[in-house]
């Protein structure tokens, strides 16, 4: 058991640290700003071009074939430099690597990894949230294509995306989990209508509804076999729940470091309760950093797509919401107008216990699949 860097890891860390001195784009502290997301595409390409993105992914798709623990080094250095987190694409990549054939992987993965193609994820529907398998969007075969009709919701960055990883029902005649297939749907076509949603912190870029009405996708864009959509979705969401895959440690650490600076700069302005909230947020973020080291180390023996992601998701949620409470306590609320950065960071943290599967769904999975408790 060794939490320290090997010589190779230490060299990499130093190289990244030096690079960040000149290449930190200095985006806002919190992700609750439309400008922040606008800058992320350029940040992705900048990280990729410098050789600091996709470290643990295969070289054939633009990765570096390094061991998984290099990813946490990136998170830690981005956090220390106050740089934005790395783009959260790991779950998409894992889903396509695991379920896509040779052709799908060759066509789509390099563009995802190098940041040329942006993707969104079309899973949730108005009537299929936690009960995802009851989704009703249809994909009907028509010659060499499938024709899509239905509605997706909570689709992040759909208006920026070239492709949508879409789950649609291809066989209504079988049990609900078995009739779903997955597609890479080109987003820039007639038959797709976008309706942005405004989140509680005012952000408009992130959330949206997507309506499909006769949009077409080539049958060759199906990911995996017909009916394999549910298995793919489970792979994707299991990784969507892992902070090691998402790179969120850097995002949380950046916020906590800024809050820390505020208190250090004017210690008399904060009471013991406010400082205590900040202290707990620091402890939580440090826990997650170390937990990610542990979970990425586990991958050295081979990657798994199991229920442990639900443990990670719950931990990550507690961390983000503790950071949110520290943001509220230390950053404060500008009752007379003014800077709402920290209020918005707090408001955004409430989404963490919903997105990627609610905390209640995660608890069900931990209870049943890890603790082995009976299903009622």
């Amino acid at each position: 058991m060794d939490f320290g860097d090997s010589p190779e890891e230490a060299e990499f860390r130093l190289r990244l640290r030096r690079w960040l001195v000149d290449n930190n784009p200095g985006l806002p502290a919190s992700s609750t700003d439309d400008d922040y997301w606008a800058g992320m595409a350029a940040w992705h390409r900048s990280l990729y071009d410098a050789g600091f993105f996709g470290l643990a992914w295969p070289t054939q798709i633009g990765g570096h074939g390094l061991s998984s623990v290099f990813e946490v080094i990136v998170d830690e250095e981005l956090a220390a430099a106050g740089a934005p987190p790395r783009p959260s694409l790991g779950y998409l990549v894992q889903g396509l690597l695991e379920h896509g054939g040779e052709e799908i992987r060759r066509r789509f993965l390099p563009g995802i990894v190098n940041g040329r193609d942006r993707w969104c994820q079309g899973f949730s529907e108005p009537d299929a949230g936690s009960d995802l398998a009851s989704l009703r969007t249809r994909a009907d075969r028509d010659g060499e294509d499938y024709v899509i009709s239905g509605q997706k919701i909570w689709t992040s960055y759909s208006d920026e995306a070239e492709f949508c990883l879409l789950l649609a029902r291809t066989d209504p005649g079988v049990a609900k989990h078995r009739g779903i297939s997955a597609f890479a749907v080109p987003m820039r076509q007639a038959g797709i209508e976008q309706r942005p949603l405004r989140m509680i912190n005012g952000v408009t870029k992130e959330f949206g509804e997507v309506h499909f009405d006769g949009a077409r996708v080539p049958a060759a864009n199906m990911i995996g076999e017909p009916g394999e959509g549910w298995a793919l979705a489970m792979t994707v969401v299991s990784h969507e729940r892992e902070p090691g895959e998402l790179g969120y440690v850097a995002r949380y650490a950046k916020m906590v470091n800024e809050l820390c600076r505020r208190v250090r700069d004017d210690p008399g302005a904060y009471g013991p309760e406010q400082v205590s909230e900040l202290g707990w947020a620091m402890v939580e973020v440090e826990m997650l950093r170390l937990h990610v080291r542990r979970r990425l180390s586990d991958r050295l023996g081979g990657i798994s797509h199991g229920p442990e992601g639900s443990v990670d998701k719950l931990l990550m949620t507690w961390v983000e919401q503790a950071v949110g409470h520290a943001a509220l306590a230390v950053g404060g609320i500008a009752h007379a107008g003014g800077d709402e950065t920290w209020l918005n960071a707090y408001l955004y943290s409430r989404a963490q216990s919903v997105m990627g599967g609610t905390s209640q769904i995660q608890r069900n999975l931990v209870a049943r699949r890890i603790l082995g408790l009976p299903v009622s």
């Binding site: 900040l278 937990h291 080291r293 180390s297 890890i370 009622s376």
Partner: protein, 346 residues
């Protein structure tokens, strides 16, 4: 970086688990039962686990903080009524002071709030309590004079008490004579004591992780057996979600604890203490809540003396306070980042 246990560390864990499962208490009535407790004490003695921090020829410990944590976690899981933490800290104190190891089992004495090792200044001794006294005849303390703090010893009376039914404490006789340990000529440095505290916090955290595992397992088993409304109560989401939260809190605790245990020997003393303080704040808070959940899941039974759940809670309450409760640990974390009392990080 590879945070997975080595094959040797896995073997150590399995060996400790085996001893606990074979000889540890499985019911409240068995705790302190002389014949079984003596067997457990002998098994731990034979294994040499209390000597993991004894000095090698080069002065370093026989084993790292990680090995100590591995044993502590298993003992905590089984609510083992055998001494380990106290004797381990005594061995570490001797090692840091360059004093030869003890030939018999001994422990350490802390101030009555358990926040640090007790220190007598120029022969004036505050009230003190020896921890984890099972099998020990004396406790180590620090005697401070113009030369600095040196390792001293006090005989125990053999009058155990305290809230933890598995690890008795003993209030020191205020009139008991204190003598310097033979060969304790060298004063301990500030770094020595910082590192000693880091080890103590890390072992307490490992014990807390084990205690949480034991409590979750106890409650999980009960929830699978106890039936109401014609179904196992473990099939109800209200119960499942409490147990899931408890399990997740235990996993987060383990991540911070492993790092703290590694840091004891791998990082500079101040960094080791900061890592330990993060772990202690997290684990201390988590453990009380997890053990309370275990009592709740047992319903009325959980509030009876015969249910092991309160044994875990009591053990957790002691470990949580040792060398820095969650609040004091949080102050240490903040101080490490330049916030709060300048003397917060000691």
């Amino acid at each position: 970086m590879d945070v997975r246990p080595s094959p040797e560390q896995r073997a150590l864990r399995d060996a400790a688990a085996q001893v606990v499962d074979r000889i540890g208490p499985t019911a409240v009535a068995q705790i302190g039962e002389p014949e079984r407790a003596a067997k457990l004490h002998a098994a731990v003695t034979d294994s040499g686990w209390r000597e993991l921090r004894v000095a090698t020829e080069g002065g370093g410990p026989l084993a790292s903080g990680v090995e100590v944590a591995i044993v502590a976690e298993e003992l905590g899981r089984g609510a083992a009524d055998v001494s380990f933490l106290g004797p381990t800290l005594a061995a570490e104190l001797r090692r840091l002071a360059g004093v030869s190891p003890s030939s018999s089992v001994e422990t350490v004495a802390l101030d009555v709030r358990l926040s640090s090792i007790v220190r007598g200044v120029d022969g004036e001794w505050p009230s003190a309590v020896a921890i984890d006294t099972q099998g020990s005849t004396r406790a180590l303390v620090l005697a401070r004079d113009g030369e600095g703090s040196r390792v001293a010893q006090v005989e125990l009376r053999g009058a155990p008490s305290g809230l933890d039914l598995t690890r008795p404490s003993e209030i020191l006789d205020p009139c008991a004579p204190v003598s310097l340990v033979e060969g304790a000529d060298r004063a301990l440095t500030r770094d020595d004591l910082t590192r000693w505290t880091a080890l103590g916090l890390s072992v307490s955290c490992a014990d807390l992780v084990g205690t949480m595992r034991g409590a979750v397992e106890l409650a999980r088993t009960y929830a699978g057996q106890r039936r109401q409304y014609g179904a196992a109560i473990g099939s109800f989401q209200a119960v499942q979600h409490m147990l899931a939260d408890a399990f997740v809190a235990m996993e987060g605790s383990r991540s911070v604890t492993l790092h703290a245990a590694w840091a004891v020997d791998a990082l500079p003393a101040g960094e080791a203490l900061a890592a330990a303080a993060v772990a202690k704040a997290y684990c201390g808070r988590a453990a009380r809540s997890v053990c309370e959940t275990a009592i709740q899941v047992h319903g009325g039974i959980g509030n009876t003396w015969e249910c092991l759940a309160h044994v875990y809670l009591r053990r957790a309450l002691l470990s949580a306070d040792l060398l820095g409760d969650p609040r004091a640990s949080l102050a240490r974390v903040l101080a490490h980042h330049g916030i709060g009392a300048a003397d917060g990080l000691r």
